[in-house]
């Protein structure tokens, strides 16, 4: 284990509910507003701290443009009502952006550069589509060795399914289980600790009555889990990325959902915890990121997980809870097979297939799930891990306190 100056502790963690994109509850909710919401909420969970002491707000976003461009981190900080002394930086590592933000923020504390840090992620896939509004590819990618850059995520999932021999049936069964677990978790109130309900105030024209109709609702639950998503029902869907007649297996049903959402954590040093009498939820143990061929990007966690375990000195079997982002059932199953992860420990509350995957926010969202979940279930070590577009994987390890 590397000797470090000090440990970093998560003292508050929350998230919005996750809405479906592009036509879900947050279709008109701006990503900077969602971000400001979760920043306000984590600040409220640590009353008494002096916001001027916050070193930086590191915020992940996978398509940082338009509504979530313009350095959305800084905008979120200001909109949340924090003093102008709190800086903000938006970072992008696609689907692990939110987790990467937590790691960078924790590093600032571990290095002794700050005692309080904000980290999080935000993403509106309703407002900013995959690949952004303006796609402009580099002509150089068509040299054979770079063709993987051109691949959409779906094709890489098909590649993983083929190479790792993950069948359509296995994928659909996994997807069905994700929905089943998510619905059970919702029924049991498992997400209550981590979700900060969001007050929706959408304005629509009421042409018939010549007035403005306001849709005011409090959103407090994830929108994605769908009852009746049985393997039989999912089995009827057509593969969308590779022609079914040519072995395509990846469908809209066994892929993650497009989503809107945000998450944030407040990270503190031991010194700050004592000074402000904070209650730490978890210790940030360590993080790793690794690269794999872009054409099989989904296998990324297979490289990142062992690296994170090695760096932190924790064994796989010490992990009680693994949040493995279900970008696609195919890649999640391939990673689980190769690393022999215990299916019971992976995504016990369901995963992105049911709960949604707001790209750059997902890391922070799942950190909130994990740190609250570990405490509630009196477990110790947990991990958040995911694959990353263009071929990477990330894994972060947390210890409940």
């Amino acid at each position: 284990m590397t000797k470090q100056i000090q440990d970093a502790y998560i003292v508050a963690a929350t998230r919005t509910p996750v809405g479906k994109a592009p036509r879900g509850v947050f279709k008109n909710t701006r990503p900077d507003d969602m971000l400001a919401h979760v920043i306000r909420a984590v600040m409220a969970q640590a009353p008494g701290i002096d916001p001027h002491r916050i070193g930086d707000a590191v915020i992940g976003c996978a398509m940082p443009e338009a509504e979530q461009g313009m350095n959305v981190a800084r905008i979120g900080v200001l909109l949340a009502g924090l003093p102008h002394t709190v800086p903000g930086v938006t970072i992008n590592r696609f689907c692990s952006s939110g987790l990467q933000a937590v790691a960078y923020a924790a590093d600032a504390i571990r290095l002794g550069e700050a005692d309080l840090m904000l980290a999080g992620g935000t993403e509106s896939m309703s407002m900013v589509p995959m690949m952004g509004h303006k796609v402009a590819m580099n002509p150089a990618i068509f040299d054979n060795e770079h063709i993987g850059i051109a691949y959409g995520m779906g094709i890489t999932a098909e590649n993983v399914a083929k190479q790792w021999k993950v069948s359509r049936e296995e994928q659909d069964a996994f997807a069905a289980r994700s929905h089943e677990r998510a619905l059970a978790a919702q029924a049991a109130g498992e997400f209550k600790d981590e979700i900060t309900p969001f007050q929706l105030d959408d304005h629509y024209p009421d042409l018939a009555n010549d007035t403005i109709r306001t849709d005011s609702r409090v959103i407090s639950q994830d929108e994605g889990p769908r009852a009746g998503s049985t393997p039989e029902v999912l089995g009827k869907l057509k593969p969308v990325f590779r022609n079914g007649q040519f072995g395509g297996t990846v469908t809209a049903g066994n892929s993650s959902q497009m989503s809107d959402g945000a998450g944030a954590v407040l990270i503190a040093s031991e010194k700050a915890i004592k000074e402000y009498n904070l209650q730490p939820l978890a210790r940030f143990v360590g993080f790793a990121v690794a690269g794999v061929p872009p054409e099989v990007m989904g296998i990324g966690p297979k490289e990142a997980i062992p690296l994170a375990l090695k760096r932190t000195g924790i064994s796989r079997d010490q992990l009680d809870w693994i949040e493995l982002n279900e970008a696609f059932a195919a890649q999640a199953l391939a990673v689980m097979k190769d690393l022999e992860l215990d299916p019971a420990k992976v995504n016990p509350l369901g995963g992105a297939i049911a709960l949604g995957h707001p790209l750059g926010a997902t890391g922070a969202v799942r950190v909130a799930t994990l740190v609250h979940g570990l405490r509630r279930h009196k477990q110790k070590y947990g991990m958040v891990t995911m694959c990353i577009g263009t071929g990477m994987g990330a894994a972060g390890i947390f210890e409940a306190l």
Partner: protein, 789 residues
């Protein structure tokens, strides 16, 4: 001049199959339309209409010419929305065929209508005069029947049925509205049961069913005999019944039985046993999956009534009958049919004989003229010739004698005598003085209604000839001619399917030169559909097979010169498009000063289907348009057209062609194809009068460059990796992308038209050299279908 009926807004009452589709077609035509139905018991009160509108987007063939138009139809219900009616100029009632329901509804709406609104019923069987009586007296003169055929967008016929009290001006106004705005072929019918089309059409079905049994023929055999083999639609008899629905068929037959007690053929107006048997078994045709036919997997099985089961269908006409049907001379064909001992031939003679007999017998009661009967059947049932035309073509007197003999011999379905006029020594019912009116005992010319002055070449009845104009110049490929003295030349191709070969290319260029000297505008118009099926593949493949690539490239260059000649002509060149407008034909209309397109225009740059890309200036023109639309980011505008061209999409209507970027916003859509030439000439003359100048040569066109091409290619990589596109598909599409984006240069670079044309030629010739493209061309030439290799 009759009073013009101005219709800003219309209401359709009843959101069933016909009502919703009529509302859709009025909306296609730009008529604001309210669609009413009963208030829904649950959910939003206009839920029934809403659901019907939603369903319009899914129906095939599409009732909407552009799916986005669904949002323009206003859903309504009788509880809350009757207020709409006071703004409405036309009400079309299309509720269920129940006299009591219709009368109730008329009473309910009467007080809400404006004092000038026209009210029309789309009933197909009930008496219009009886319906009129339910209306307050002051409304009866504004009421009539207006009977659309299913599907209303595609069936040309509308029967217009005045009552005793309908104002002539209402009928005249509606006739003009239906013909020009809605694009329909109007036939004025008398108020007799089933009017004209269904009276004759359904009788023909009943006679066919009767003789099927008499001659013990299989249903599939009858369909093989009564489809395209005799100039009728592919669905022929029994497949049509399955599509219509066997319960609906039975209902129509029952209406005839109930209302036509005095008809000498009345004994046949009952549901045939086999049809009733199917209905009793719940086999109602296509909607229940089984009827006369049943689809099992990919196979279509046919009912064998003897076995009471479905058996594989493979029946064709017998060799003898096939040979007879191939005879060109109708007189000989009918003589041979009647003389043949083959039961199939006897069957065919019998169905024609009884149809002719029935139609002649009833002509005086149901229609003003024989022309109206023939048009009703052609436009309402899709036959190439109406019953009188068929008879006359086969030799009127000879056939009349045969019918009379058969009646005498007891072979005909009825012993009712032929009307005396049939055998008064005439040679037919259509002649120089017009068409026969049995009611008036005279020949009547075509309607003098001014709306028909817009039809320079109306649908011709047998033997009818129109002024072919004056030739200004012609070669083997084209004819440049004028009609009238408006100074607008008409340029028509002489090739089959109006394909484009060297003669056409040279001809167009030369003709434009002639027009610049002698005329003030040119309309490219074909004397028949289609506008053009594109380049002549046979000639092209010949050059390739012989390895004459230089000649091939100069042919392409000539194509481009022709397009550019059209674009830069000193007199405006207007393209008048109807039907297919593919490949090179599409490129010509893209280069025209303005395109005037009939609604039913199927436009596409389909070169990718034969392994090529549009190289007659089509891609160049799309790049120029993208640059004009969005000079800062032409790529943004290219996205849609790239997909259109790479997937060789063909528009399902002129309106959709605008959505696809193949027609311009400024191009004109004409609803009645018979008015196309008139409108195109007007547009051309008006462009000329407005001081036409061709566009300045485009010398600074910003292009999307190599980044644009790379972005298109990235999406193609995924399609190929997903096996949704073959390697050759991707090769073609990549070259399309490269041309649209201006080649391997920096984005935003400025190029001229010559640069883009050269790229088109380069990629075209390089693709043509590939084996796979040559295989695609050969395959399409032999099968008419694209090859995916």
């Amino acid at each position: 001049m009759p009073a013009t009926l101005r219709i800003r807004k219309a209401a359709v009452l009843g959101a069933g199959v016909m009502g919703a589709q009529i509302a859709a077609h009025l909306t296609n035509a730009g008529v604001e339309t309210v669609l009413f139905d009963l208030p829904a018991k649950e959910g939003p009160k206009s839920g029934i209409a809403l659901k019907a509108i939603e369903n319009l987007k899914k129906l095939s063939p599409a009732p909407l010419a552009d799916k986005n138009l669904a949002a323009a139809i206003i859903p309504a219900n009788y509880d809350e929305d009757l207020d709409h009616l006071k703004e409405v100029d036309l009400v079309i009632e299309a509720i269920a065929e129940r006299m009591d329901w219709k009368l109730d509804l008329y009473r309910k709406i009467a007080s809400h209508l404006s004092k000038t609104a026209v009210i029309a019923s789309n009933t197909s069987g009930l008496s219009i005069n009886t319906l009129a009586e339910a209306l307050p007296e002051e409304m009866r003169h504004r009421f009539c029947g207006v009977h659309f055929f299913n599907p209303p967008r595609y069936m040309h016929l509308v029967e217009l049925i005045p009552t005793r009290l309908t104002d002539a001006s209402v009928i005249e106004g509606l006739e003009a509205f239906l013909a020009t705005t809605v694009g329909k072929g109007v036939v004025i019918a008398k108020d007799t049961p089933n009017f004209i089309g269904n009276r004759i059409g359904v009788f023909s079905m009943l006679a066919t069913m009767h003789h099927t049994e008499q001659f013990k023929l299989g249903f599939d055999t009858v369909d093989a005999l009564t489809g395209p083999a005799i100039g009728r639609p592919k669905s022929a008899t029994y497949r049509t019944a399955d599509v219509v629905g066997l319960d609906t068929m039975a209902h129509v037959i029952k209406t005839m039985g109930d209302t036509l007690a005095d008809d000498p053929w009345h004994t046949y107006f009952k549901t045939p046993a086999v049809l009733q048997g199917l209905i009793d078994a719940g086999a109602l045709g296509q909607k229940t999956g089984a009827g006369f036919y049943k689809k099992v997997g990919k196979d279509i099985l046919v009912l064998d009534p003897a076995k009471r089961d479905y058996v594989p269908s493979e029946q064709k006409a017998s060799d003898e009958v096939a040979a007879i049907l191939a005879i060109k001379d109708p007189a000989e064909k009918f003589a041979r049919l009647r003389a043949s001992g083959d039961p199939q031939a006897q069957f065919l003679w019998a169905i024609f004989r009884d149809l002719f007999h029935y139609t002649a017998y009833h002509l005086a009661d149901i229609a003003d003229t024989a022309r109206d009967v023939d048009f009703a059947i052609r436009w309402g049932y899709g036959w190439k010739l109406g019953p009188f035309e068929t008879w006359q073509a086969a030799g009127w007197q000879q056939v009349a004698n045969w019918i009379a003999e058969d009646i005498k011999a007891g072979k005909a379905m009825s012993d009712a005598p032929l009307p005396a006029w049939v055998t008064d020594g005439r040679n037919g019912v259509h002649g120089k003085e017009g068409s026969w009116s049995a009611a008036d005992g005279s020949y009547k010319p075509r309607s003098q209604h001014p709306v028909y002055a817009r039809q320079l070449f109306p649908d011709a009845i047998l033997g009818e000839k129109f002024d072919q104009g004056t030739t200004v110049w012609e070669n083997d490929g084209v004819r440049l001619w004028t009609l009238g003295d408006d100074g607008v030349g008409i340029l028509s191709f002489k090739t089959k399917m109006h394909t484009v070969n060297d003669h056409v290319l040279d001809g167009i260029q030369h003709a434009i030169g002639v027009a610049e000297e002698k005329l003030k505008a040119v309309v490219i118009w074909q004397t028949s559909e289609p506008f053009s099926a594109g380049a002549d593949l046979k000639g092209a493949l010949g050059l390739l097979k012989d390895g004459k690539f230089d000649a091939f490239e100069s042919m392409v260059a000539n194509f481009q010169r022709t397009s550019m000649r059209i674009k830069h002509s000193l007199v405006p060149v207007v393209a008048a498009v109807r039907g297919l407008c593919l490949g090179g034909g599409c490129e010509f209309q893209m280069h025209s000063a303005r395109t005037v397109a009939a609604l039913e225009s199927y436009i596409g740059l389909v070169e990718a289907g034969v392994g090529l890309l549009p190289a007659g200036g089509g891609l160049k023109e799309l790049a120029v348009r993208a640059a004009n639309a969005n000079p800062a980011d032409p790529f943004e505008s290219l996205k849609k057209v790239f997909e259109t061209v790479a997937m060789a999409k063909v528009s399902a209507s002129a309106l959709e062609a605008k959505q696809l970027g193949l027609l311009r916003e400024s191009d004109v859509v004409v609803f009645n194809a018979y008015e196309l030439l008139h409108v195109a000439k007007q547009v051309a003359a008006s462009l000329a009068e407005s001081g036409w100048r061709p566009p300045l040569p485009a010398r600074a066109i910003p292009v999307a460059g190599d980044t644009g091409t790379a972005t298109f290619k990235a999406s193609l990589v995924n399609l190929q990796a997903g096996y949704f596109a073959s390697e050759h598909d991707v090769a073609i599409a990549s070259r399309i992308a490269d041309t649209l984006c201006g080649g391997g240069i920096e984005r935003g670079s400025l190029v001229d038209e010559a640069w883009l044309l050269k790229l088109e030629r380069k990629h075209f010739v390089e693709l043509a050299r590939t084996e796979k493209t040559q295989a695609r061309i050969a395959h399409t030439m032999t099968t008419g279908k694209p090859l995916r290799n």
